[in-house]
Symmetry: C2
Subunit: 440 residues, 2 copies
């Protein structure tokens, strides 16, 4: 019996998320991203496909590394324009009962009590289906938007992130005792103030205990410091890039570091699923005709922190390692070897979700995912969107039945909160997670 595979949709409240240019496809509906109907429709599709969750990315700046300008990003709608992802969740929650929502929020520019209240609110409104993808940001453009000259250094961001986590854990877990809320109409007592504590001199948390209290914690840090942070805090880790053997080393390291805490690891993937292999290959060719090379380069340049505008498409890119160059540049060296080129990068990024797309009949893709999950020791996949909604509908209507037929996919959603569905235990974090130390 193969391991169970879990699926998340990986999306963003914008026109162009990972696969740049798909919005130009005549059947693509991404330009409707400002409409509630669009997102509610997606949520219904994912619920029908028994997805674990919808994972929403976010940035708070623009991609302005390529050529030192946001022009290419704006022209090709590369994650700009962009809405606030949290605000999509309530309407999607209203039309689903099981789907989880993993929302990215950069903690660097958030006031802990207000952020904690928003997450607590979503945990209530969704009935315990909220998760948080913890990021500290990587864009100088975001810092400048906040009125700062540039972002703080990578490791200092993680120091600040540790302090932030401590603040929000105290609010979520430490302020209201489990028995604080009485709702006693006849006694006229809503809550017992003796069971509600101030947090660090700042008064009590405004939100009464929600099903999960702390949202399901996602993290995707690939640097050493990022992995140490993930090992301490994350319940789910999003990994990207590379060959199954490389991911297997990463997942082994992550599972060793977090033990005895269980974690779920999701690998990014782009699928092109057809009724037949030929149909899928035709779709890939068709989608590729709509891919935006300039959009992909603008995206890649910002992800890598590297303006390779001065390099030709086939010119080897060699750069010195500096703080401003992200660990992704190291990853590119690992993937392509030294002297990699923009052409290799584009080939990788376009319809690759930073991995080559998996293209085939539903049965072929099912076998590929099952093999990949086993080889890389991952629990499932974060599926980047291609042409919407047909790309995700093909997964739901064609791929999921094939996975189910192989015993590799759930037949129904498990009961309970998002955390219960993921780990089969209670809705709240368990020791030795550091959040639990804040309980009274």
């Amino acid at each position: 019996m193969p391991r169970e595979i879990r699926l998340n949709a990986f999306d963003m409240a914008c026109v162009g998320h990972i696969q740049q240019g798909m919005w130009t496809h005549p059947r693509d509906r991404s330009v409707e991203y400002t409409s509630l109907d669009y997102w509610m429709g997606l949520a219904r599709t994912l619920e029908r496909g028994l997805f674990d969750g919808l994972f929403l990315a976010d940035v708070v700046g623009v991609y302005d590394v390529l050529g030192g300008s946001p022009d290419a990003a704006i022209r090709h709608a590369v994650q700009v324009p962009l809405l606030d992802p949290m605000l999509l969740v309530p309407a999607m929650a209203a039309v689903t009962r099981h789907l989880g929502f993993g929302v990215t929020c950069n903690l660097t520019y958030e006031a802990p009590p207000l952020f904690a209240r928003r997450m607590g609110t979503l945990d209530h409104l969704t009935g315990g289906r909220i998760g948080w993808n913890i990021v500290t940001g990587y864009l100088d453009s975001a810092a400048r938007a906040m009125g700062l000259p540039k972002q703080v250094a990578h490791d200092d961001r993680y120091d600040a992130a540790e302090a932030f986590m401590d603040r929000v854990y105290a609010l979520w877990e430490g302020s209201w005792a489990d028995d604080a809320v009485r709702r006693d109409r006849s006694a006229g007592v809503y809550a017992d103030p003796a069971r509600v504590r101030d947090v660090a001199g700042g008064g009590p948390f405004l939100v009464e205990p929600s099903p999960q209290r702390t949202p399901v914690l996602y993290q995707a840090g690939a640097s050493d410091r990022g992995r140490a942070f993930a090992a301490r805090h994350a319940e789910c880790v999003f990994v990207n890039f590379g060959r199954p053997a490389d991911i297997a080393r990463l997942t082994a390291d992550l599972r060793a570091r977090t033990a005895p805490r269980p974690i779920r690891i999701f690998a990014g993937a782009t699928l092109i699923v057809g009724r037949t292999r030929a149909e899928a290959e035709d779709l890939l060719a068709e989608y590729r005709r709509h891919a935006s090379i300039e959009g992909a380069l603008a995206h890649a340049a910002a992800s890598l922190g590297l303006d390779f505008d001065r390099f030709g498409m086939d010119e080897p890119i060699e750069v010195a390692k500096t703080d401003a160059i992200s660990s992704n540049v190291e990853a590119m060296r690992r993937v392509f070897g030294p002297g990699w080129t923009k052409r290799q990068l584009v080939d990788q990024f376009v319809l690759g979700s930073r991995q080559r797309p998996i293209v085939g009949s539903a049965a072929e893709v099912a076998e590929a995912l099952i093999g990949f999950a086993e080889a890389a020791d991952v629990d499932g996949f974060n599926l980047a969107r291609t042409v919407m909604p047909e790309g995700i509908e093909a997964v739901v209507d064609l791929l999921v039945p094939e996975l189910q037929a192989r015993g590799a996919y759930k037949q129904a959603h498990a009961p309970g909160a998002y955390r219960e569905k993921l780990f089969g235990a209670g809705p709240r974090l368990a020791a030795p997670h550091p959040a639990t130390s804040h309980r009274g």
Copy 2:
């Protein structure tokens, strides 16, 4: 023909908003405030009643002035626990087509680009039905929750508010030209970067132009500085307290200060509407038995910035005017005269929404509102909740038809965005509003 009366529901994402203790009534459903169904049901009711909007209050601290502790507020659920109001809007927008949403947000602790993105997102998702009630906060407890020793002084808050408005206007109105978004699939151009501007060195605004761009701006400042701020920025003003003649002086002042800009002025009101006068009086008596005196005092003490715990119920309250004592204390002196007492206050606050409730048959209440609107020169009313949902259902099912029969209420929602519905002109702010100076 009487003037048209507009109705807003005045509510808050909590158990006890204005009328403390109502949650203990056996028919009251306020304790369901954490559920999406509760809020979607309310939105449907208000849409059916042709309400202009749902006005959501907010605070970001607890009421801890009475006795120097939040205990009474927690015990009686006086605006604590409390959710984030913005996150209620998307689900309510999904089940309505016309209802506007006026959401309170304290700008003091918000990062302008993130706040502006949230409001821009809501304007998109609601199809142009979002409003913002601009507040600068009045609670030291909120400042302490943010890690500050106390809030900044009243007038300094308004200086900071002016700077904040300038920042968010620039983002909403100044970054994307009207013709920036092209959505040209065949040319592969989503937006023209030459028509998107940086804002104050912080890069472009992340959100493409939404129907209204700047949300409908509400304000409720009653102090001199607050009124000057309202005169400059507000499109709708929420007034509270006092006799029609007093309100008439206030509205005359506001309209003179804002001219030639039109404003809509809404007065706070609590209605108890019955099929007959006797039924309404029975309801009032019944509701009053569930009122929380301690809750009302905790609320009033925080609103006034005055711990009157040391005064007996019938002891004249005389305090020196200081910065910490809000302008509401002056208003109490105007209402009750010098030497006012806690008993007078409780009598006013309990089922009074800071005004005596208007109690009677639907016809009587309709006549009272029509008379009040004429005498005070207000455009409508913000209706505080009593027992929910029956209180608002009585307004929709009994009062609205009486107002309609008198020609004092719309027969259908006007078309267009919230701003169009309110003013009968376009969806965007018009000169000489200061936001318009940021356009390219």
